[in-house]
Amino acid sequence: MRILVGVDPGHRSAAVVQLGELLARSLDAGLVVAAITPPAWSPIVRGADTEWQRYARDSANVVLDHAASLLADGVKSGELKAEFLLHEASSARRGILEVADDHGAALVVVGSSAAGPIGRITIGSEVDALLHASPVPVAIAPRGYRVRRGARITRVTAGYSGSDASADLVIGAAGIAADGGASLRLASFAVRPPGPVTTASGLHAEDAVLAGWREQMSADAAELLADISELPRTPASVEAVVGIGATWEHAMEDIEWTDDDVLVVGSSSVGPLARVFVGSHAAKVVRHSPVPVIVVPRGRAEVLAARAETG
């Protein structure tokens, strides 16, 4: 199994490399660190862009050297296997998909946009394009993400929405958690709408609805957890939580998070079957997540679930 880490050729970032390392350690996978550079123009321009090509390659090499220095300890001790490569492609999305295909990567790791807040995930234009096209799961590191030396994932939190697709995702996440020796947590999130003011049915009429929703989600989750306990290989432990808040941020903060958590969310059930397409709820969850998020395409979730069920 291989994990592809896509680094920005113009911008050194420890966050994406560290997330790649964490995942590689936990899943016992090899790393492919790739920087995508723009291709040279055809001979028609008679090498007028040679200087520019060299600059782009040099800059990408600086980034790759930086990544190599970050991974050096792990590679030296034999815990990690990593290769580094430059790849030319007309867009970052296309380049990453090509490399992922060539190396049979099971997972792509990318970083947040530098325009977002520290500690949160902001999806930049290239990652957005990748999310719409990737046939394999995409892990996104929050901006400024750091892990302890030698850390492994201790808990996989799976976003659960109650749909069948989301049940597949949870089973798949259970398989991943079992592989990495981590525990599994099901998390559902809801935002409490403002109180209805002129209906005279009480300002807290929605609280009862949310309580009903919470009961239903808990019952569904309990059933799912029972299914998971019958899998050939089970996570270290399982639990289900519900986060409710006045905003998505509060809803996400309503449950506790630790440094070695990752959050797994599924792509929308309305998008094309095999691709990642982040739905409106999932997009908000991604944006407000304090931990790295792995977005799994729906078709891939079924594959992962099938693999978890057969062991």
Binding site: G195, V197, A200, V209, G212, Q216
Partner: protein
């Protein structure tokens, strides 16, 4: 097994989860509270109720509005005391369940289905009239009578009324929410439309229209009040917002009174303008009344178009609000085991009670499609009046049973206001048409029979008590389990 008396009188414990944190954030000031009252009330009936009330009361319909307003104000004050005394969040149904017992709560539930469900149908029919008016003004074409009127008025089915209910239901299924900001915007739109109407209509003033002021005498005035009482439904929103009001002892009664003064002034002004502009005899069976009056006096369509557009926006928001209220009340009843569980199922994705909303949509659509507006308005009025009557009686019962209970707000002048409120409600009820009263009694009876065979056995509270849990402590004569004086050491 509990005796029947115990079953009918069992009361819900009044310490909902999170009650304490709820009471910490008192964020709604006097202005917002007043706006809630105005927003909840204005726009329900004034756009179409004159066509029903003027033929009964004559120009004296002005006093019908004053009487209706005073009764609504008295009951709202009682409601505010009830809401402040019982630490539950919810509608009249929840308060009745916590203070007067399960049997009464179900009776109130029957009334609330009229106050919300039937009024949804009523406002939807009003909406259909203005939609037709707007179509006529803008495109010179309107839906034929077969598709825009109830059978009794020469049509077959009222399609626009069904459309507005379906649209609102879709919004609710998707998860629409209302906030104080949205409400304030709607209040501005509604007041602007009403004032625009008055400004234009006063240009056609003719004092002769008031010559035969009260053709049916006092009975006519009170009968008119029974119909127009419908246009005061929603004032109780102030009372239920009480648990988030800043300084409720001062602000609740002030907000009710201010809201009422604003609303009565606007209604009386509208009546004066409408009656000054159009002879009383012409009101009967007039559709989209306010628009039609303006067009008749100006001889041009644009003022009617403006009023129609404003009415369509405001009635739409009102439809959404009452429909929402209906689904949430049924939701609460279903969670208590009073009605089948399907009403409490929440869709995991939209996080709204989808089946509940669809059932309400279908039933209210059928009512709106085939029943004329005057009957719908009267049924709404009687349901609301009886629900308010129960609240007023409840205030007296609570004062006798638990005189020391800490109340967020206490109605002044002892028992005077609750008793006046009861008398006012009864007075108006007796002047409604016989058919309305009979249908109301049959409906309540059917609902209570349903309770007898279903709710009484499926009651969540009853099951908990039978299982020996100490919820509710039925033997303790205190409504509030959190504010009992003996536990507070007072």
């Amino acid at each position: 097994m509990a005796t029947i008396g115990q079953q009918l009188l069992r009361r819900k414990p009044t310490t909902p989860v999170g009650a304490n944190e709820v009471h910490l954030k008192r964020s709604i000031g006097l202005f917002s509270l007043t706006m809630i009252g105005v927003g909840g009330t204005l726009g329900t009936g004034i756009f179409f109720i004159l066509s029903q009330a003027v033929p009964i009361a004559g120009p004296a319909v002005i006093f019908s509005f004053v009487i209706g307003g005073i009764v609504a104000g008295l009951t709202a004050l009682c409601y505010a005391e009830m809401a402040g005394a019982v630490p539950v969040a919810g509608s009249t149904y929840s308060y009745a369940y916590a203070t007067l017992g399960e049997g009464t709560a179900m009776g109130v539930g029957a009334c609330l289905l009229l106050e919300y469900g039937v009024s949804t149908a009523a406002v939807a029919v009003g909406w259909s009239q203005y939609v037709n008016q707007l179509l006529q003004n803008l495109f010179g074409w309107q839906l034929p009578v077969q598709l825009s009127q109830a059978p009794e008025q020469g049509g077959v089915v009222n399609i626009p009324a069904v459309i507005v209910i379906v649209l609102c239901s879709l919004l609710l299924i998707r998860g629409a929410s209302e906030s104080t900001t949205v409400n304030s915007i709607m209040v501005v739109i509604k007041i602007a439309v009403v004032l625009f109407f008055c400004a234009v209509a006063f240009t056609g003033w003719n004092a002769d229209h008031f010559a035969n002021f009260a053709p049916a005498g006092f009975a006519g005035i009170v009968g008119g009040a029974g119909i127009i009482f419908f246009s005061f439904v929603g004032l109780d929103a102030v009372s239920t917002a009480g648990d988030e009001a800043k300084n409720p002892k001062r602000n609740l009664p002030l907000a009710i009174i201010f809201a009422l003064l604003i609303i009565i002034s606007l209604y009386v002004l509208t009546c004066l303008a409408a009656l000054g502009a159009q002879a009383p005899g012409k009101f009967k069976d007039q559709d989209a009344g306010l628009s039609a009056i303006l067009q008749n006096i100006i001889g041009s369509t644009w003022p009617g178009t403006v009023v129609a557009a404003g009415a369509i926006i405001s009635i739409f928001s009102v439809t959404l609000v009452v429909l929402y209220g209906q689904t949430r009340i049924l939701f609460a009843m279903s969670r208590d085991g009073m009605i089948p569980k399907i009403f409490a199922k929440v869709n995991p994705r939209s996080m709204t009670p989808v089946q509940n909303t669809i059932i309400v949509m279908i039933v209210t659509s059928i009512l709106a499609a085939v029943i004329p507006i005057d009957f719908l308005a009267e049924m709404t009025s009687i349901g609301t009046l009886v629900a308010f009557l129960v609240v007023s009686v409840g205030v007296i019962i609570l004062r006798v049973r638990e005189p020391d209970l800490e109340r967020g707000f206490r109605v002044p002048l002892g028992w005077t206001i609750p008793i006046l409120s009861i008398i006012g409600c009864i007075l108006i009820i007796t002047q409604l048409r016989l058919i309305t009263i009979v249908v109301f009694l049959i409906w309540t009876f059917v609902f209570l029979v349903f309770y007898w065979f279903y709710g009484r056995r499926h009651s969540v509270l009853g099951a908990a008590q039978a299982a020996g849990e100490t919820v509710g402590e039925p033997d303790v004569p205190y409504t509030s389990t959190v504010r009992r004086p003996d536990q507070d050491g007072r």
